[in-house]
Amino acid sequence: MEMTLAQTLFAVALGGVTLLVTGFALYVLSSTLWAGRWFRSRHRGPGR
């Protein structure tokens, strides 16, 4: 099936949203590992 211009543009936009959401998901998930580095913790050393 050959795609029309409108379908191509919409598919590109959907792909862009998918990439954006994937990037944001990776950022949020990774933030659980590094976002606490400014805080003292009872379980970790100071200033880490």
């Binding site: 409108a6 936009a13 944001f24 976002a35 805080f39 003292r40 200033g47």
Partner: protein, 141 residues
């Protein structure tokens, strides 16, 4: 001329932090927060695209062309994911409202989250079957 204001370092930021254990990791509430952020982001950005595709209704040929895409198996899988995100975001939102209105319910927070996850999985499986059924039965593509 008043006295110069000496700004105290914030207890919440910087290496001089005096706030022990302010970041909690790995507990159910944090993972619910992470999932809520991600699903909210997905739902919001898809909503923007949805506004675009629905706004084509005044141009029937374009509207039909764009909506033909939704029959594609890749987009059907995307819709199953979107359904899961939407259901989780809605149910978890209700859980947050519950905790806001009834602070005493925080003791049951983990069990309610389990119910949210279970209900999300169930509703997504049922909805996902309905979305994928035409493809599974070979009526599409």
């Amino acid at each position: 001329m008043g006295r110069p204001v000496v700004q105290e370092p914030s207890p919440w930021t910087g290496p001089l932090s005096r706030s022990p254990g302010t970041v909690y990791r790995g507990r159910s509430g944090q993972w619910a927060f992470v999932a809520h952020r991600i699903t909210g982001f997905l739902v919001f950005f898809f909503l923007l695209l949805h506004i675009v595709d629905v706004s084509l209704v005044s141009r029937p040929r374009l509207y039909n062309e764009v909506h033909e895409l939704y029959g594609n198996v890749v987009l059907r899988l995307f819709e199953v994911g979107l359904l899961g995100a939407l259901v989780f975001h809605s149910l978890n939102g209700l859980r947050i409202v519950m905790i806001d209105f009834f602070p005493g319910s925080i003791g049951n927070e983990k069990r309610v989250l389990s119910a949210v996850v279970g209900l999300t999985a169930l509703l997504t499986a049922v909805g996902g079957w309905i979305i994928m059924e035409p493809f599974v039965e070979g009526r599409l593509l």
